[in-house]
């Protein structure tokens, strides 16, 4: 098992590679969700290429770390990670949303290796992550569970039902990332349904919380360092300040790029910009 084999610079480059693949997927499918894929790209890269104990050769390995994409619509970024990691052939990125593709519109654990549970209906994934973490505790296993939530998704009541159970069962093997990009489908989260202070909310529920710049690979890695060995009986929550569409200027912070595919010209522009790297 190789963990921590990439340098910081290589990780940053990898996050760009994943962004390129995610945007390419959506372009080829002419359908899918680029905005929230790009905002989640950096911490998803850190998890898949530096943190998680996983084995592409043995995707169902029972001691593996688990990953739950609770905001399942951003499947393209997870698919990019799985393809680059070798869970599926790289060419699979040309088949997003096609008949018989492992890359379904939303993650499907029956069709794609490396997907620990199917998601797509918002608000439900965190409960599943809690169950996985509790199962690990019951079996005295040392694996951890990582869940990714959207800021809009945190409006679902079930998120808070899951949160209270994670606290009750002292699931310090659970790490929740909130991709706080400030936008949902109908507009800015602040306008559609304000979340209030998400960090405080998770904290009063009993989580160990942290808020970071979700596009700074350094901050993401540091935050992961902090929670790695914190066996203090508390579930962890890392709230990431992010920009929806990050890395493609015309998609950045634009509500309309939530679930829209670029045309040819936009696609080429996006690829050019991504090749230049991120402004963090």
């Amino acid at each position: 098992m190789e963990v921590g084999s990439l340098t910081l610079e290589e990780l940053k480059k990898k996050a760009i590679d994943l962004r390129e693949s995610a945007v390419t997927m959506v372009y080829k499918a002419q359908s899918g969700h680029p905005g929230g894929s790009l905002s989640a790209a950096d911490f998803v890269t850190a998890l898949y290429f530096n943190e998680m104990n996983i084995d592409p050769e043995n995707p169902d390995w029972e001691d593996r770390d688990r990953f739950v994409l609770s905001k399942g619509h951003v499947a393209p970024i997870q698919y990019a990670a799985l393809a680059h990691k070798g869970f599926v052939p790289l060419e699979t990125i040309n088949t997003l949303r096609e008949y018989k593709s492992p890359f379904q519109g939303h993650p499907d654990s029956k069709k794609c290796p490396g997907i620990d549970i199917s998601t797509g209906s918002l608000g439900q994934g965190l409960s599943c992550a809690v169950g996985m973490a509790l199962g690990g505790k019951l079996d005295e296993k040392s694996y951890r569970v990582f869940a990714v939530l959207g800021d809009g998704e945190c409006q679902e009541g079930q998120i808070w039902e899951a949160a209270q159970s994670a606290v009750k069962y002292e699931l310090d093997n659970l790490v929740v990332f909130v991709d706080d990009n400030g936008l949902q489908i109908d507009g800015p989260t602040e306008e559609i349904m304000p979340n209030g202070d998400l960090e405080k909310k998770f904290e009063v529920f009993g989580f160990e919380t942290n808020r970071i710049n979700g596009h700074s690979m350094e901050e993401v890695l540091e935050a992961l360092d902090q929670v790695r060995d914190a066996k203090n009986g508390k579930p962890k929550c890392i709230i990431c300040n992010t920009v929806k569409g990050k890395g493609v200027s015309f998609m950045e912070n634009v509500v309309g790029w939530h679930g829209k595919a670029p045309n040819e010209e936009q696609y080429e522009l996006a690829m050019e910009e991504l090749a230049r790297g991120l402004n963090v």
Binding site: A29, S31, G72, R97, E98, Y99, K100, S101, Q104, G105, H106, D108, K111, S118, T119, G120, S121, L122, G123, G152, E153, Q155, E156, G157, Q184, I185, D186, T189, I192, M193
Partner: protein
């Protein structure tokens, strides 16, 4: 009325019909829309812009939307909760049961992305059991129009009658079948054609397939009775009894063959103790990402298969 030909080639998604009609209905100050962060997609933006005070967006919180709508209804409002069919039937199912249907409140659940129409989103988003689930709630009416014009009429009527109604729309475009002046009545099947050898009963986005199948059968010299059963509850018992007189029935729906139109028709046929039914619809399997037409084909929801099923029992 004779079988409409589909020559006009005009197509429209029925979610557009909801959007256009609700924007008219908003002139009544008691009509409200309760959105759950997919107003753009469910076509309520026009309503929101025209009647901002009558528009509520609860964010991504469907269960809250249903309960909140029930509360609004107790104050004399007529809320239309707008979301995708999979969430509007299943995520809020118990809130609809306990707080809308049980107290029999005047709440309408208006859902886009019915059936297999959210095709490339995949199985998680395709609502194949929505009408069936809601059909089992007492007081609930369950409706899916077959085209843009009929859907507008049915939405309008849903606003006019008292009580819970579930309305289901297509995400994708489907052919326009009816003239815009055609009238529709909730609970009353629309007869597109009378006949004496076989009855085809379809609803929603499959009616145009049944029309084409009827044409093929007629060309083979088979006399077809064709019904658009837009309301599966309360089902038009009289119309089904007439089909039972013919004795041979094929039902067609973009829904699981369990508990949808086919089941509703079969219940009456079984009670009568005569007649035979073949059900065309989703074969009790989850969908997947694929073009909409491909998904229909996988399930045998095709003109060819409707003809085959009819010939099987003729």
């Amino acid at each position: 009325m004779t079988v409409m030909n589909l020559k006009s080639n005009e197509k429209k998604a029925t979610r557009e019909a909801f959007g256009d009609e609700i924007a008219e209905l908003g002139k009544n100050k008691n009509i409200l829309v309760v959105d759950a962060d997919i107003g753009g997609s469910c076509k309520t933006t026009k309503f929101m812009n025209a009647f901002p005070k009558q528009h509520v967006n609860v964010g991504i919180a469907e269960q809250n939307a249903a309960g909140l709508a029930a509360g609004l209804a107790t104050t004399g409002k007529i809320p239309f909760v707008s979301t995708y069919a999979v969430f509007g039937s299943l995520r809020m199912a118990e809130q609809i049961r306990q707080e809308v249907c049980y107290p029999n409140l005047n709440v309408k659940i208006a859902c886009s992305h019915g059936g297999l129409t959210p095709a490339n989103d995949g199985g998680s988003h395709q609502a194949i059991e929505d009408m069936g689930v809601l059909r089992t709630f007492p007081n609930m009416k369950v409706i899916m129009g077959a085209d843009y014009h009929s859907t507008r009429k049915l939405v309008k009527q849903a606003a006019e009658i008292y009580g819970p109604v579930f309305l289901r729309f297509t995400r994708d475009t489907i052919p326009i079948i009816y003239d815009e002046n055609e009238e529709f009545e909730i609970g009353k099947a629309k007869q597109l054609k009378d006949g004496k050898d076989i009855a085809l009963i379809a609803n929603g986005d499959t009616v145009h397939l049944a029309i084409q199948a009827a044409e093929i059968l007629e060309n083979k010299g088979i006399s077809v009775k064709l019904l658009d059963m837009h309301t599966i509850k309360p089902i038009d018992r009289e119309a089904i009894l007439e089909c039972i007189e013919i004795g041979k029935i094929v039902t067609v729906e973009d829904h699981n063959i369990i508990n949808g139109l086919g089941s509703a028709v079969s219940e009456i046929v079984a009670e009568q103790g005569e007649g035979i039914v073949r059900r065309v619809g989703v074969q009790d399997q989850f969908g997947e990402s694929a073009p909409y037409e491909k998904l229909l084909e996988i399930n045998g929801i095709t003109v060819e298969n409707i003809v085959n099923k009819a010939e099987e029992i003729l």
